[in-house]
């Protein structure tokens, strides 16, 4: 009997936005795996830190932090083999995932390598999408709105075309694309309908109207939400953070 590979969504960052199920599985884990940068702490591990049991075995998956590049496949080949070796002994492996494992998550790289060989359970988590909407104090989607979620690294032309067709829009992974995206939205006359959130739900969270944002660099975990549908509406001038 082999072990089960769990992909556990941890939510956007506040450990209290973890689900009860995630908390139970992590609290009982004997082996965990998680993505980690080549220097500094693992964000995923930091969300789960207070729930980790004594003596848990840890398999960090070290992925160099290069924005906009998808990690070298060899890193996941190696991680999948390390995890497979544990699963083969009958032990479960709990993989810690920021947000939701199947929403722009790196868990897919393990899933595609191991799902033919081992039982896998994915535990969904709160995504940054709705965490950011909560902080912007504006419903993400209402009634019969169409929502379009666009990765910020895509070319301007693609992003512009998607936004033109959309009603509610989320641009993920803003990061170093912030100045370009801000200029694009300014050209489209949408700056006053756009909100910006970085590190949603963490103590260092920032929430702004995009038009008020004066920095030119954003962390990878940042998002722009645009409310096109409501013609008369603009984002209010102030937020609590």
């Amino acid at each position: 009997m082999s072990g089960t590979l769990y992909g556990i969504g941890l939510g956007p960052g506040d450990p209290e936005l973890m689900t009860l199920k995630a908390h139970r599985l992590i609290s009982n884990a004997r082996v965990i795996a998680y993505p980690a940068p080549d220097s500094g702490d693992s964000f995923a591990r930091s969300i789960a830190a207070n729930a980790l049991p004594e003596g848990v075995r840890e398999i960090p998956i070290v992925v160099p932090m290069r924005v906009d590049r998808f990690p070298a496949q060899e890193i996941y080949d190696k991680a999948a083999e390390d995890i497979a070796a544990v699963l083969e002994t009958g032990e479960d492996v709990v993989t810690l995932c920021e947000g939701d494992p199947f929403f722009f998550g790196s868990f897919m790289y393990l899933f595609e390598r191991l799902s033919d060989r081992f039982p896998i359970e994915v535990v969904p988590g709160v995504t940054s999408l709705t965490a950011c909407a909560a902080q912007l104090r504006r419903p993400l989607t209402a009634r019969n709105d169409v929502l379009t979620v666009i990765p910020g690294p895509l070319p301007d032309l693609d992003i512009r075309a998607k936004i033109e067709e959309a009603q509610a829009v989320a641009i993920m992974k803003v990061g170093r694309h912030l100045p370009r995206l801000k200029a694009l939205l300014d050209g489209m006359g949408l700056l006053d309908k756009a909100g910006y959130v970085e590190r949603a739900s963490l103590p260092e969270q920032k929430v702004h109207r995009l038009v008020d944002l004066e920095v030119d660099a954003a962390p990878y975990f940042s998002m722009i939400l645009i409310y096109k549908g409501d013609e008369a509406w603009t984002l209010p001038p102030s937020y609590s953070s």
Copy 2:
């Protein structure tokens, strides 16, 4: 000092997919509000039932279950006044919301009536979107995919145009639109890339390839996910449920 209105995302249905924060706030609530049908149990209340404290005061917001119609505004005018009367005494009101309060949720009807008068906190929850992807065992979005979320009640022409432009697609609120949507996707040659999930994460959950689904009626809480991006891929023939 007035009380705070909480909008609490409960997740897709499994009480264990509630967040720790939702659980804490509900466990300590003195007054709760929730949407309820005109006959039968409230789905939102049922998710939270085991966390409710003894003697909690309940404000059911009775909304007649008519698919595709948005509830009469008078119902929310009245509910907002009932809730305001509690908040004015300094007591908090915890509103129970299926999924996430700001993702196609009826909490927005309270929010728009009360956010100018009272402090409001929205606690995001796991959406059916990622809960369904977890059950279909397929990443919802990967790398730089664009995701489009489409309400099923929209007209065929609109849905077709949105799907043509999209990569990953979710169609929400399938309900009685199932036969129409299935015919539409068949005509677009997409049936073998579409998965169907109803009542995700509940014991009565159903998960199927859309092409295998032989019923013509779906509950309101049902979803179709379409993976257009990967040309070579089709949904596997069997699921565990």
